[in-house]
Every structure is written in C-alpha cells, then in structure tokens.
C-alpha cells in the first residue's frame, strides 16, 4: 500500500532536493490519504512555502491545480498565471494565491493504473517555466519518484 512505501522514502528530502536542483521557488507533493481520512487528497509535503495555508486545504478531484491533474492524469503547465487565469477565477486555485506563484507545472504520480499523487513545481516570477523547461524537468526527473511512476495518462 501507499502508506508503507511513504515511510521508506524521504519525500521531504526529495522535494527539497528537487527545489534546489532546478532552482524552483516552490515544490509541493499532494497524496491520497488513507481510509481513516476518507481517501482525500491533501498537500503532504512542501518546500519553499511562505505560509501554512496549504495545510488547511482539502483538494477535490477536478478542482484547483492538483484536482485537475488528479482527475485527468495529465501534466499541467501554467506558464503565466496572470495571462492564463482570469483574476476573478484565481480564488479557485488557492495554492497559487497563497504561495503567490506566477509560473508553475504539475505532474500526476501513478501507482499502477491510478493517480495517487500530484507533484507541483513553481516560480514566483512569470514565464520562468515554459514548455521546454518543463519537459527538461520531467526528463531529468526520470520515470519515478519514490514509489510512484511519472508518466502520461496514455502510457501503459
């Protein structure tokens, strides 16, 4: 099960490492919680955060950055928050608001045929992350993160 793997892998160290290796301002990892927490998705590990607002948020499938990636199983890139998200809709992406991210990407983390986590990386400056650099990041990250596979939805 997911939980047992979690303890054998130091995710906090891992995302701290990712942040310094790629010079991200912010990295976070959302994971599906065990049965006693009704399998909700929450941000479990963060690096470079400005406050603890993320701790209060329960993510919903299909809503917000993590919710959309979780539901679709596809990576998501928001190169420039101000251009890609209308100001009046921004409140639907609380992690972007509370961490003041301006440019970010998110990847689904797989366990078998299920998405069970989301990895988010971002900058507080616009256009820092674009398609090319996001692809480079994915490549150098490799095909797995701890117990999870990193891949696109269509791949086996």
């Amino acid at each position: 099960m997911t939980m047992t793997n979690l303890h054998s892998f130091h995710y906090q160290q891992e995302i701290d490492g990712i942040r310094s290796r790629f010079q991200f301002d912010f990295v976070s990892l959302a994971l599906v919680q065990p049965a006693e927490d009704r399998f909700v998705l929450t941000w479990q590990y963060v690096s470079g955060n400005r406050n603890d607002r993320y701790k209060r948020i329960v993510l919903h499938s299909g809503k917000g950055v993590a919710g959309i990636v979780f539901k679709t199983g596809k990576a998501m890139l928001i190169q420039n928050v101000s251009a890609d998200i209308e100001a009046k809709d921004l409140f639907n992406y609380p992690i972007i608001v509370s961490e003041q991210l301006r440019s970010l990407g998110a990847l689904p983390l797989w366990e078998g045929s299920r998405v069970i986590g989301v990895l988010l990386v971002g900058f507080r400056k616009e256009n820092e992350l674009d398609e090319a650099s996001f692809a480079r990041f994915q490549n150098s990250l490799g095909a797995s993160l701890g117990a999870f596979q990193i891949r696109e939805v269509s791949q086996p």
Binding site: R53, Y54, R56, I57, K88, F91, S98
Partner: protein, 357 residues
C-alpha cells in the same frame, strides 16, 4: 352652489386653461392643432410648435407616436384623431417630448364643439406613476425569482442528500462486505480502488448538496449553517473565518434566514476573491430590534469611488437587492489598504424578537 355667471365662468375656464398642470390641445375636424395651453407647450418640441403656429404643418402626428390598444403598446391603427366611433375618453398615448424621449401620457379625447367639430385632447404625464409601477412589479418579480431559486435548490439538495447519497452509501457498504469475502488479491486491490473513488464521490455529492442549500439552514438555523459553511471554506480555500455568534441559536423566518445566509456567503466569496488576506471576521448579533450581520476583513480594500465593481458588480447588487427584500439595509465600507466591511441590518418584527426569548 349657484351657477356661475357666464363672465365669471369664462374667466375661470381661461385660468384653468392657462394654469392647469394638465396639457390641453384643441384639435379641429381634420386633426389640425388649433391651439394648446402652456402646459402642453412645456411638453411638445418647440420646433413642432413652430410648425403648428406658422401653419407649415399643423397635424398632430408630428408629435404623436401612437396610442396603446388591445393589440399593441404603441399603435396607429384606428387613430383617435380620425376615428369618431372610437371610445377615447381614457387611453394611453405616446408623445415625442421636447427632451427627446418618447413619454407615455394618460389622455382623453372628445368633441367639445359639435357644430364645428372642435375637439380637445387632454394629457397627464404618466412617467412617474409608471416608474412606481415598474419598481413595484420588479420587486415582486425579484422576490418571486429568489424564492423559486431557493425552493429549487432546496429540492435538488434534498434529493441529492436523501436519495443519491443514500444509494451510493449502501453500495459502498456492499462493497466493503465483498472485501471480507474470499476473493483473490487482484480483485481485492481493484475493490480498494473502487471504494476510494466511491468514498470521494460520496463526499463530493454531500458537498454539492450543502453548497446548493444547507439543510442545516432549515433544520438548525443560521448559526449551524454558518459554522458548516465556514468549515467548508476553510477546507476548500484555506480561508479562516473568525465567527462570533451572539444569537443563542435563535430562529427567524425562513426568508430572513436565507437572506442573511446568502449575503454572508457572497460577502465571504468577495473577501476570498479580492481581499488578498486569508482571515475574515463574521459577527452575527441582535441589537435594538435589528438582526446584524458584519463581515469584515483587513485586506487590500478598494476605492469605493473609482472601482466599486471589481468583477461583475453583480454580487454587490444581489446583496443589496436581497437585503431590501426583507426591509433590511446593506452597507459597504472600504478604502484602499483599509480592508472592507459589509454590514447587513434587518429590522425584526415583534413576533420574531419574542421567538428569541
């Protein structure tokens, strides 16, 4: 009362003609204007009056747009000017006025000089009365629409909660039972996944039901509904609501509670979208026979003169409208860098105040 002498009557009639608020226009058999009184001159475009006075075009049609009949609001069919069989003792006519607009008037048109076919058209400005009527109708309509919307939301919310969520829950229970039956590892794993999805789906449906209209608002009252809504805001958006309730679980009329709930909801949504802070203070209390709701944040605020409506402005409009529905007052205070305060004050009827005790 003695009948007036001819001279005195003539004098009074003359004064009536000169000083009356009612516009009087004398028209001959051919529909040409013979004369009009000062009140009529106040209404009609001076250029038209000039045309009439000089005799260039004395027809009344230059200023008349038509009248209201059974078929249309503005119609020229069977024009009152040349349809003597028609009954035109009281009707509505539309005239082009000197300010440019087309304005409705209450009119009466009848023959006063049988021998020479002289007639008089008398006009009374209807705009003010019509505005009053429109407002009245709009308020009734709005009340009706809001009630219909709430009722429909309540219905769907109940349906989701009582039937859809219940069904899903019993399926989930069945699924958990299967887990303890003799099944292979693969099946067990698949079952666990399905259980996860269904559990999340059940939560989503419950949230949706509460979002539409919290049943706690009907069953337990404002305070309980507020608390669960604030919890939801915290979990969804990380917004912290500092709530101070001083009502001791009092209940009010359903309409009133709905207004307070919806106004608070909208105010919090605005705070979430625009204030730039993640803490909001909500106070609900009773003071001097009024129910008072205050929603305050210490965020960026905005300049009330320049950009009253960041976003669509519909939210503010809606809050004001809802407040007026229950005779309440809606106040908004904000300044750049000084946060925003929304206050709703609703007078309580005596009956409602007694319910508190």
């Amino acid at each position: 009362m003695n009948a007036l002498s001819g001279e005195r009557l003539g004098e009074l009639m003359n004064k009536l003609y000169r000083n009356s608020m009612e516009a009087m226009i004398f028209i001959d058999q051919e529909g040409k204007v013979i004369d009009m009184n000062p009140a009529a001159e106040q209404i009609i475009d001076p250029r038209v009056i000039e045309q009439i006075r000089t005799g260039a075009d004395p027809s009344f049609c230059q200023t008349c747009e038509g009248y209201t009949d059974e078929q249309e609001l503005i119609s020229c069919a069977r024009c009152y000017l040349d349809y003597p069989q028609g009954e035109f003792s009281s009707f509505q006519v539309f005239l082009k006025t000197r300010d440019g607009g087309v304005v409705p008037f209450a009119a009466s048109y009848h023959t006063i000089d049988e021998a020479r076919g002289g007639r008089v058209l008398m006009l009374l400005d209807l705009t003010k009365q019509q505005k009053t009527q429109e407002m009245l109708q709009r308020n009734h309509m709005l009340k009706y629409v809001i009630k219909a919307q709430e009722d429909e939301r309540k219905r769907i919310s109940r349906e989701l909660h009582d039937s859809v969520a219940q069904e899903l829950l019993s399926s989930l229970v069945d699924l958990r039972v299967i887990k303890y039956m003799d099944v292979g590892e693969d099946v067990l794993k698949k079952l666990q996944h399905t259980e996860q999805s269904l559990t999340r789906l059940l939560d989503d449906i419950r949230h949706l039901s509460v979002e539409l209209r919290p049943s706690s608002l009907d069953d337990l009252g404002l305070e309980a509904a507020f608390r669960s809504h604030f919890k939801w805001l915290e979990k969804n958006y990380g917004l912290l609501v500092k709530f101070s309730a001083e009502l001791a679980a009092a209940r009010y009329g359903s309409e009133l509670e709905t207004v307070v709930y919806r106004v608070c909801q909208e105010a919090l949504l605005n705070a979430l979208k625009y204030s730039g802070v993640d803490e909001v203070y909500v106070r609900l209390c009773e003071e001097n026979g009024h129910l008072l709701l205050t929603v305050r944040n210490e965020g960026v605020g905005f300049d009330m003169v320049i950009d009253e409506a960041k976003g669509t402005g519909l939210g503010l409009y809606g809050m004001r409208e809802r407040a007026e529905l229950v005779g309440g007052q809606f106040m908004l205070r904000s300044a750049l860098g000084e946060g925003t305060t929304v206050q709703l004050s609703i007078p309580l009827s005596r009956a409602e105040q007694q319910e508190v005790g």
